[in-house]
Each structure stands twice: as structure tokens, then as C-alpha cells.
């Protein structure tokens, strides 16, 4: 039983943490305990939760697969296996990894090739279904790169959907679980695609696959919705939402992937310029331009156009600062031109989107204007200067006026 002192301390800690009282208030409330309370309160309040740390997605996925592999293989585990040895080393870790791989192979061999094949068609509730999910776990285990993992998770999500579409009515109790598994695998796949982008890999092809598959998933789910019993329809509706959100995320990620590709091209421009290979600089600038157009096209398919434009503006502005700081003079004006076009283009596109115009149309219009405007300033004025800005505004105004003249109807 706690004495009053302990209760008072607990109450004071709770009050101060919740902002209901200050340390001073608490001490004033219990002057006879002040000497004991004060230092203990200070220590208690100094114990802070650590900053938010999260395990990496790669670790989480691998650990999940290992856990399932160990569970399925029924591998006996000795107490404190990894921890009993003070000289805990990588070798120790590798040993357990090898053991898991062996467990998977042995288990697969035990299941047998014919059974493996037969299990591919298994549905929840079938005897062979656990083998099917075990094989999926093994596939994930052996998918080492982020791209391979993303692709495998996407395939597994598709398998869950296929099972949903083939599930007989009397097994509708499995619908909710399948939808949850579909969501989980889809999100994991997209997590790995995102990780690939963040680690500098090219993910545009991978994300195109996600877009294509997700569009197909939507069609399948619509059909499934019409087929399932009424009580299972809310779960399918949820799956349709999940799939729609997945598609939206894949669209955004694809835009980001194109943005990163453009940034990579510009860094290659810098390398070639430093090596004095101007022919390749020009070629790469062309590819950068195409990358920019691909980004715009992908961004226009999302519901976050303005956010993506802002992100792209910031990202590429930083790339240009780095590149222009080191490139030799002969490449500077071509790169400065690309920078100016990028920044001006994003400004104009953001404005146009704000007015309700489609991003793709706005960008195409800008590209035409940019080429028409070029002869007016090239060799005449410093690009980006005040004089140049005024000329651009004047050019835009004139162009706007000319657009106001209605085109006569064709008789």
C-alpha cells in the first residue's frame, strides 16, 4: 500500500506533466515535504521520451519474413540464442540468417514441388493455403533489392485480389481478412518503391507498373463488388478505396521519380561539363528537359499538383545552386538557361493551375511561349535580369491580348 508521500509524488508528477501545475505550485502545496519532493520531481520531469525513432521499412519487412519463416519451419529456438554470448558478432547474425534460409529450403522441399504447384490455386480455408502464403514469404525473403521487394509485394496484393474474386459465397467470412492483406501488401510495396526513390534509384518503370496494376485492380474490384453477398460489400468498398488511395500514391511517387531522374540528369550535366565533354552536356540537357516534361505529365495525374510543383521547384533550385557553383564557364550559359526555364516554368505553371488550368496544358503553353520569347532576349539582355523580367511580362501581356481576339467561326 502506498503511503501518502508516494501518492503525493505521483500526483505532482502527473499535474506538472499535464500542465495543471508548476513544480513551484506543488512544492507550495506540501511545504513539509519540500526537501524530499523537489529533487525527486526534478529527476522525474527530466526523464523524457526519446525523440521519435522508427525501425527502417527494410528491417521491418525482413524481420517479419524471418519471423514467419521461423514459425512455419517450427525451428526450435534455444533460450536467449542471440544474446547469451558477449562476443555477439555479425558472424553470429549470419549464422542465424543461414539457418533461416536452410529452414525455408527444407520446408519447401518437404512440401514438395507438386504440392507447391497445387497450392498456387489455393483459397483461404483450403488445406494448402498456408503453404501458399509460406511460399510468398519465401519469395519476399529472397527479394533483396527495394525494387524486387516492391514488385513482390505488388504481386502478392494482386494474388489477394484474385482470391477475393474467386472466393465462393460460403467463405465470405474471409473477405475482410483478404482486404486487409491486400491493403498491407500494397502499402508495403509502395513503401519500398518510395525507399528506392529516396536512395537515388530509378523507380519510374516500377511505378508505371504499380499504376497499370492498380488501374486493373479497380476494375476487378468493381466486378467483385457486384458478385459478393451484401454483407461483404462494405469490405469490398473499403478495398476500392484502398486501391484508389494506392493509385493516387503511386501517381505522386511516379512524379517524384521523374523529378529525381531530372535532378540526376542535371548532376550528370555537371560531371560532363567538368570533363569538358560539351556534346554530351547538350545531349543531357535535352534529356533533362524531357525529364521535366515527364514530371509535369505525371504530376498532372495527381490531386497534389501545387504541392508537387513546389517540391520540384525547391529540389531543382538546390541542384542548380550546386551545379552552377562548379561548372566551367563554357557550360554556364546553357545550364543557366535550363535553370531559368525550370524556375520560370514552375512559376507560370503554379499560377495557371491556381487559375484552374490543367497543368499539362499550362506547361505546353509555357514551352511554346519560351521558344517564342527566346529570340527577343538571346544576345540582347542578361537572362533573369530586371530588364529581362520586364520583357517577359510585356511579352505575356501582348500574347494575352492577342489571345483575347476571338477566332472567327468556320462557315
Amino acid at each position: 500500500m502506498a503511503t501518502k508521500k508516494e501518492e503525493i509524488l505521483a500526483q505532482c508528477i502527473a499535474d506538472v506533466k499535464a500542465g495543471r501545475a508548476s513544480v513551484k505550485d506543488c512544492l507550495a502545496r506540501y511545504p513539509h515535504l519540500r526537501r524530499e519532493l523537489e529533487p525527486l520531481l526534478k529527476i522525474a520531469l527530466a526523464i523524457e521520451p526519446p525523440p521519435e525513432v522508427s525501425p527502417s521499412p527494410t528491417f521491418k519487412a525482413r524481420a517479419r519474413v524471418r519471423l514467419l519463416a521461423q514459425i512455419h519451419a517450427q525451428r526450435p529456438v534455444t533460450k536467449g540464442r542471440w544474446l547469451r554470448y558477449p562476443s555477439w558478432t555479425f558472424q553470429e547474425r549470419r549464422f542465424s540468417m543461414v539457418a533461416i534460409v536452410i529452414a525455408i529450403i527444407v520446408a519447401l522441399a518437404a512440401i514438395g514441388g507438386g504440392t507447391v504447384y497445387a497450392s498456387l490455386d489455393a483459397l483461404p480455408g483450403d488445406i494448402l493455403y498456408p503453404e501458399k502464403t509460406f511460399i510468398e514469404d519465401a519469395r519476399l525473403f529472397f527479394a533483396f533489392s527495394d525494387e524486387a521487394k516492391a514488385g513482390t509485394y505488388l504481386a502478392i496484393a494482386g494474388t489477394r485480389l484474385d482470391e477475393l474474386s474467386r472466393l465462393p459465397g460460403e467463405r465470405s467470412r474471409f473477405v475482410e481478412g483478404l482486404v486487409e492483406e491486400y491493403r498491407y501488401n500494397l502499402e508495403r510495396g509502395l513503401d519500398f518503391a518510395e525507399q528506392r526513390i529516396e536512395q537515388g534509384g530509378n523507380a519510374s518503370g516500377l511505378l508505371a507498373r504499380f499504376q497499370e496494376r492498380l488501374a486493373h485492380h479497380q476494375e476487378v474490384l468493381q466486378t467483385v463488388y457486384e458478385q459478393v453477398p451484401e454483407e461483404a460489400q462494405p469490405a469490398i468498398e473499403h478495398a476500392i478505396n484502398v486501391s484508389g488511395q494506392g493509385l493516387e500514391r503511386a501517381n505522386r511517387l511516379r512524379a517524384r521519380a521523374h523529378l529525381e531522374n531530372a535532378a540526376r540528369r542535371m548532376n550528370q550535366v555537371s560531371e560532363m561539363a567538368q570533363a569538358g565533354r560539351m556534346d554530351e552536356v547538350i545531349e543531357l540537357l535535352g534529356e533533362y528537359d524531357e525529364g521535366l516534361a515527364s514530371f509535369v505529365e505525371a504530376a498532372s495525374e495527381t490531386g497534389d499538383v501545387e504541392v508537387l510543383l513546389e517540391l520540384a521547384r525547391e529540389r531543382l533550385a538546390l541542384v542548380f545552386v550546386d551545379v552552377l557553383a562548379i561548372v566551367p564557364d563554357e557550360a554556364r550559359s546553357a545550364i543557366e538557361d535550363a535553370r531559368l526555364k525550370t524556375m520560370k516554368g514552375f512559376d507560370e505553371a503554379t499560377e495557371a493551375v491556381g487559375r484552374g488550368q490543367d497543368l499539362n496544358d499550362a506547361w505546353e503553353e509555357f514551352e511554346v511561349e519560351w521558344e517564342e520569347f527566346r529570340p527577343q532576349w538571346e544576345g540582347e539582355m542578361e537572362p533573369g535580369s530586371e530588364e529581362w523580367q520586364d520583357a517577359w511580362e510585356e511579352f505575356k501581356t501582348e500574347r494575352g491580348r492577342s489571345q483575347l481576339v476571338p477566332t472567327p467561326p468556320i462557315p
Binding site: M1, A2, L9, E48, P50, E52, P55, A63, R64, W88
Partner: protein
Amino acid sequence: MIEQAAKGDPQSFARLYDLHVDRVYRHVFYRVSSVGVAEDLTQEVFLKGWQALHRYKRTGSPFVAWLLTIAHNLVIDYYRARKRETSLEASILPPDSATTPQQIAEVRWEQRELERAIMQLRPEQQLVIVLRFIDGFEYSEIAALLRKSEGAVRVIQHRALKELRRILGKRR
């Protein structure tokens, strides 16, 4: 989900893993300050959790709190094993390679001192302090987990804070 897992359904246990892995990792990382060790111990927690699931009883404390007590025991085992070769002072919370979570964990010196002091408390006191102040559990939840009364938990907390004061006073 817990019931399904306890009946031997690996997929249900995998869902429990998804729900709680972040929290378990965070708890372990706070205690060991090393990404590699935290990852391995986290993995071990779930494996042990699976093996001991039949012993889990709904006691009024959340399932994650039960997992954290497994984590707590593993962390103690880990330090005990390390202590055989190195002194406690040298082995607790060593500065590790510069990966992001480590950099995040580079908090003020006083905070580190406090963490070191917590690691020197008796296991039960450590558990109460970490569950209460780091993991944010209520007294009632900790009490259910330790199968003690709430008052008894507050007594342990009081004694732990006094002990921390003594350890920190000795260092300064």
C-alpha cells in the same frame, strides 16, 4: 487477433507484429542505443512472444505492454551477457556508428547520465520507470502487468526516483 494467434495462426501473429513493432523497437532502442542490437532484440521479442503466447492472459494491461516486459528481460539478458567481458560503465549506451537514429539519440549529456543511471536500477524499478515515463503507460496498466496494486507501483516509482537521486548524486 490475439486469440487467433494464440490458436497458432501465424498470419494473425504477423498482424500483431505489424501493429506493435514500432513501439517495441523504440522501447528497446532507448535501452540499448544501437540500431543493430535494437533490431535483433526486437526480432527476438516477437519470436519469444510467439513461443510464449499461450501464457499470455488478458490482465487489463495492453498486449504491447506484455511484449515490452519480454523486451525488458531480453535487454537485461543482453547487458548481463556483455557485463561478463566489459565493465557496466563502459558497455552501457556506447556511442555507436553515425546512423540516423544514433544521431537522434545524441541528446544532452545530462539526459545520457540519467539514462545510464536508469540502467543501474533494480530490474523491477527500471521497468516501472521506463513503462511510465518513456512508454507512457498508466499506473493501472503497469499494475495489471506486474500483478501488483497501483499503490505498490507508485511505491516502486518513489523508491526508483530516490535511487536515481542517489546514483546521480554520487557521480556529480
